[in-house]
């Protein structure tokens, strides 16, 4: 069966982890890894596995465009605009894993196919992928006036891109809590914890709902949404049960990764790459069907 060819720009933590998930995707064929450091571990791994490894960045990729149908950008918010402009002008679909947020936000269990007509889809942030399904699980039951998320990740799993982009992380996540999660107002907090052994990604969602008395429905809705996320991130789990305090709802989560490139504590990397791979796989399925 025909598959869509995939390129990944950015051979760091996210890009390399994503490569393994592409390999397991039904409608995707891993094709090219693009980096800027020929010595990077991600480029070496890609070359070892028989893929084209390009070490001179976007310029190198633009010379071999026939190798890709869908391109993931796992570089930085600052570099993404240029990459996106060049690739979409050449007719490629771009899936953005930086917090640049040029294209519309996509969170698989909430709006998987909603923006497939666009050429650039943004995957929000790791904290957004982990928590926005929960905000939606509440907002589909009762109006959410305010939602705030706290993502705590192991220091080792936050690479230089995440660190340089920390403001973009909070801003983009807050926006997506509103646009995708359905809260009237959103806020995001990220905390890096250097404990050894590294902690598993933890996420907390606090929401203020418009009315009390929907506790049972919220619990059911949350459980259903957890099941949906577990379809692509099996290590996505509630810690305890949702807590209610007047109009305040608090949900505690942990995200254990599949352990592809990074160890399982890096649920933050895993949920981002798993979500992006899921979106691309679905997109590829539609593209293939349309071209037949």
């Amino acid at each position: 069966m025909k598959k869509c060819k995939v390129g990944i720009i950015g051979s760091g933590n996210i890009g390399t982890d994503l490569m393994y998930k592409i390999e397991r995707s039904e409608h995707l064929q891993m094709s090219v890894m693009v980096g800027i450091d020929p010595e990077s571990d991600g480029l070496k791994r890609a070359a070892d596995r028989g893929y084209t490894a390009i070490a001179n960045g976007i310029d190198g990729l633009m010379e071999q465009l026939d190798l890709v149908d869908i391109v993931f950008d796992a570089t930085s918010a600052y570099a993404h605009k240029k990459h996106s402009d060049l690739l979409t002008a050449a007719g490629k679909k771009v899936i953005d894993l930086t917090p640049a947020a040029i294209g519309p936000f996509t969170v698989p269990p909430v709006n998987l196919t909603e923006h497939f007509d666009k050429n650039n889809l943004n995957m929000v942030t790791c904290g957004g992928q982990a928590t926005i399904p929960m905000v939606k699980a509440i907002s589909r039951v009762v109006e959410v006036e305010y939602a705030e998320i706290v993502a705590t990740v192991a220091s080792l799993s936050a690479g230089p891109g995440t660190r340089a982009n920390i403001d973009e992380f909070t801003r983009t996540t807050a926006k997506a809590i509103e646009v995708v999660g359905g809260a009237q107002k959103g806020k995001a907090i990220i905390i890096l914890n250097p404990a050894e052994p590294p902690i598993i990604m933890r996420d907390t969602v606090h929401a203020l709902v418009a009315e009390e008395g929907k506790e049972e429905e919220i619990i059911v809705s949350v459980d259903e949404m957890v099941n949906e996320v577990q379809q692509y991130v099996p290590g996505y789990r509630l810690r305890g049960i949702p807590q209610f305090d007047g109009r305040k709802v608090s949900i505690f989560l942990e995200v254990e990764g599949a352990g592809d490139y990074f160890p399982p504590y890096s649920g933050n990397l895993d949920i981002m790459t798993a979500a992006a791979a899921k979106v691309a796989n679905e997109l590829a399925k539609q593209l293939i069907t349309a071209s037949v």
Partner: protein
């Protein structure tokens, strides 16, 4: 005699934790006026968790911190208003707004091992013409070499002062001396120290810091800060004067603002309770205190058990959600 150091009062920021973020404009105005009149050069006004800290996670501010900053700045003849910014909670726009409201100093705070998230905020502080500080929180959790490495990062981003911050009130004087002395040898910028009094060590630690070369030291009036509070500003002024330093502070005036302005609005005395003692003993972030008490009550568990578990989990500043998670797990384990 020239001034050896600056005393920076944090009552209106660290005290926000003890006040459950309920400062009013009137309280802030009166305190700011008193601090300015007593000769304090810098004092800090922000949500306890810094700009943007108003949240369900840490507690919603009763009054928008920008209004409080503006009110404080209006009361200053000589003193300058500082703000705290913790990257991951506050963003650059928050700092720009605070500067419009009158802030003249920013302290950009990270966990002691994570200074590199602060590069863009420190650069912005300098760009805006602020006195710009890097603030290494929970400094007891890293060995001296790591503290030096992270302080150098702050300095490389443009920080003019780097703080060693004993957020848990865990350090003993020799821990302070080792860290400040090592920084004095390895970095060119000034060094500050921020204490918490959970083990009754705040004043002793502050003396150790000054003797090792710290030139900025924090205090709070009546020790109004997280946990058992900070070095008590008015006591610090008296002690350091006795030690022969020129503090630049009028002792009677600083005592008056502490006792006549701050004491009447305090919600509880700043004692060393069983919980704050355990925080200092096991190295837990001081602002967890009131959240731990609330969680212990909600889930019917001993607050000391929560704190000991948080210490074991190596919780860092800002992880207030973990308190409720731990309390719930402890309650489930009891059943």
């Amino acid at each position: 005699m020239g001034r050896s150091f600056e005393i920076l009062d944090v009552s209106l920021r660290d005290g926000s934790h003890a006040m459950q973020h309920s400062f009013t404009v009137e309280q802030v105005r009166a305190t700011a006026r008193g601090l300015d009149d007593a000769g304090v050069s810098y004092f800090e006004v922000s949500h306890g968790d810094g700009l943007g800290g108003s949240s369900l996670q840490y507690g919603l501010s009763k009054v928008d911190e920008l209004k409080l900053i503006e009110a404080a700045a209006e009361e200053c003849q000589n003193a300058k208003v500082s703000v705290l910014l913790i990257p991951g909670i506050g963003i650059k726009e928050d700092l720009q707004e605070a500067v419009k409201a009158g802030a003249k100093m920013v302290r950009v705070a990270t966990h002691v091992t994570e200074a590199d998230v602060a590069a863009q905020h420190i650069a912005l502080g300098r760009e805006l013409g602020l006195k710009t500080v890097g603030f290494l929180m929970m400094a007891h959790m890293a060995p001296v070499e790591k503290v030096v490495e992270q302080a150098k990062l702050f300095e490389s981003y443009g920080a003019e002062i780097v703080y060693v911050t004993d957020s848990a009130g865990y350090m003993l004087p020799q821990d302070v001396t080792a860290r400040i002395a090592a920084l004095k040898q390895s970095i060119g910028c000034e060094i500050g120290f921020h204490a918490h009094n959970n083990l009754s060590m705040a004043m002793a630690n502050t003396i150790a810091a000054v003797e090792a070369g710290a030139t900025y030291i924090d205090g709070s009036l009546r020790a109004l800060g997280a946990g058992s509070g900070n070095t008590q500003t008015e006591v610090m002024a008296a002690v350091l004067e006795r030690l022969g330093y020129n503090t630049g502070i009028d002792l009677y005036k600083i005592m008056d603002v502490a006792n006549e302005v701050v004491a009447p609005f305090m919600q509880r005395p700043q004692e060393i309770t069983g919980s704050s003692l355990i925080m200092g003993y096991s190295g837990v972030y001081s602002s967890f205190l009131l959240h731990t008490q609330a969680a212990a009550q909600k889930f019917g568990v001993d607050e000391r058990d929560i704190l000991v578990e948080l210490g074991r989990l190596k919780a860092v500043g800002g992880q207030e959600d973990l308190i409720y998670d731990v309390a719930q797990q402890l309650a489930l384990a009891k059943v």
